[in-house]
């Protein structure tokens, strides 16, 4: 059933660029797919209580490193992107390993990663001679396979493929034995360690996956948009945006982060088109209120709520959903 739905959905998405829609819609769908991938990556940590406010940092590293290598050393993104992703993961490990060993969890983990977001954003701004600072930078244009610069349709398929891979990764983690271990860790770390779970290894594995996805998406966003700005690709603002979308959609569900991306991006665009630029800030005002309401009333997000509802039906088999709380 769900497999058929998935196949149909994918087919529909694959056909999208050929439906004769204005380019704008393809552009939006592409952005939604890429951001969904980021949110899905974040939720791999968030759902196990590793609430990171540092994903803006990984996105920024993933975006800037290949662009800088390309502009200054003419290194192809084919090499630059893996370097950027590796660097993002390395930074995550430098923070993640001691955090896990020293039990920096909950608030503390959130605030340490928040500081990381700022380090990367301010670092980019400070190195303005190289990165263009707050004005942003543009990768040198050279549409070719070598430069990984394509037209919109080609990029759309890259984004679609990336998104599908993201879902597959989410599913694999969800079904793996590691998910059980991580659930135990987020419930009670000491108890989990006592029954023989290697807490640090489990946490780092999911951290590596999550940050690698985020760094990779950062690179793709930069390659597609051909413009990098520290405010939109790094820093606390981006980190919070990631957290909000993932929570709103539902970080405990496969399609939750995707729904979060659809919701936030279309809401932002709709308000922008509807009210124009003299209504700057309207979208985020509404995001802010929604985020508060979501956490108070439905911490499992939209998809989580739908799932819980449908499971409550008497004919539905299987265990009831766990108590509706985002664990920290």
């Amino acid at each position: 059933m769900s497999r058929i739905a998935l196949g149909l959905g994918t087919a529909l998405l694959a056909a999208l660029p050929f439906l004769g829609l204005p380019g704008y819609f393809v552009h939006m769908a592409l952005l939604i797919l890429l951001w969904s991938f980021v949110y899905t990556g974040w939720s791999l940590m968030g759902r196990f209580g590793l609430v990171s406010l540092g994903h803006g940092a990984f996105l920024g590293i993933g975006a800037y490193v290949p662009a800088l290598l390309w502009n200054y050393y003419e290194l192809t993104p084919w090499v630059g992107i893996p370097i950027g992703v590796a660097l993002a993961v390395a930074v995550a490990l430098v923070i993640g390993y001691p955090s896990s060993r020293l039990r920096v969890v909950g608030h503390y983990f959130a605030l340490v990663t928040l500081a990381l977001s700022e380090v990367v954003r301010l670092g980019i701004v400070a190195a303005r001679d190289v990165t263009g600072g707050s004005l942003g930078m543009t990768p040198r244009a050279e549409p070719s396979l070598y430069a990984l610069q394509f037209d919109r349709t080609a990029f759309y398929f890259i984004a679609l493929g990336t998104w599908l891979v993201g879902l597959a990764i989410w599913r694999a983690v969800d079904r793996g034995i590691g998910a059980k271990a991580l659930d135990a860790i987020s419930e009670d770390e000491v108890a989990a360690a006592a029954v023989g779970i290697d807490v640090t290894r489990e946490k780092l594995r999911v951290t590596i996956i999550s940050t690698a996805m985020t760094g990779f998406a950062g690179a793709l966003l930069a390659q597609y948009l051909m413009y990098l700005n520290p405010e939109t690709l790094a820093g606390v603002g981006v980190s919070l945006q990631i957290v909000f979308a993932a929570i709103a959609g539902g970080m405990y569900s496969l399609l939750g982060p995707t729904v979060g991306a659809v919701l936030t991006l279309t809401l932002g665009e709709a308000l922008r088109v509807l009210f124009g630029t003299n209504f700057v800030g309207a979208a985020n005002t509404i995001y802010g209120i929604l985020l508060i309401l979501f956490i108070i009333f439905m911490p499992r997000g939209i998809v989580g709520l739908i799932e819980t509802r449908s499971r409550r039906r008497p004919d539905a088999a299987g265990s009831p959903a766990p108590a509706g709380s985002a664990r920290g």
């Binding site: 001691p98 608030h107 340490v112 700022e118 664990r327």
Partner: protein, 284 residues
Amino acid sequence: MDIFLVESIVNGILLGGVLALLALGLNLVFGVIDVVWIAYAELVMVGMYAIYWLHAFYGWPLLLACGVAILLVAIIGVLVHLLIIEPILDQPPINQLLATGGLLFFLQSFATLLFGTDFRNIGLKLPVLEIGDMFVSFARLLAFAIALIGAAGLYVFLRRTFIGTAIRAIAQDREIMGLMGVDARKIYLATSGIGGGLAGLAACLLVLQYDVHPFIGLSFGPITFMICVLGGLGNMIGGFLASFIIAQIISVGGFYAPVEFAYVLAFAFFIVLILIRPQGILAK
């Protein structure tokens, strides 16, 4: 020693006073309610806007405008607790942090919506003092003095009054205080109000030195959290000490390199230290 270096050290000390005041309110709320108000700096921004409109636009006397701003932010602090924190008080602390993250988004964008992204200045020109060969801004000196007075006032309040004692007690042992007949809810509301009031006071001091704009919270918020964590969340003396350390790094770092690098240095210092001493600099 280089006179400009001395000047940056002195300015660092003055900056430390303001940061200490910012950290104080956040630490109080954390220590008592076990909640991180991630929108704390945005509450400061609300206070700054209030002062700007009342003083620069409606022409109220500055002191009156400051008083009203402190009261206003104190009320908002109480509302934050009532509307956002209380419904999710029994959920994991990280949810409360994220919910106030929503408040951060809301306040920031609502300010953009109402006032635009213009930088606004209350238009008060305070003199620059010349001490020896050094130049020290009077506004900073004033802010430093008031920050210290505010901190001392809070100390006396917590030590000498009944409600202050109850606040300290509940920070030490949440469970037992209910048995002693203390209404935790009342204490939480009082704490939120005082925390908000301290944010309002910080707003009065910052508005003397900085322009108001919707994103000003982002330039103080992260650094304030860092200071609180560095001092040990809830540990006010630690927070006080950490403020001056961080302020020196920023100020002296800014003397040798661009100011953003000084901030990067401060954040990096924080990350390293917190991984060495996760319970804060004063932890045993």
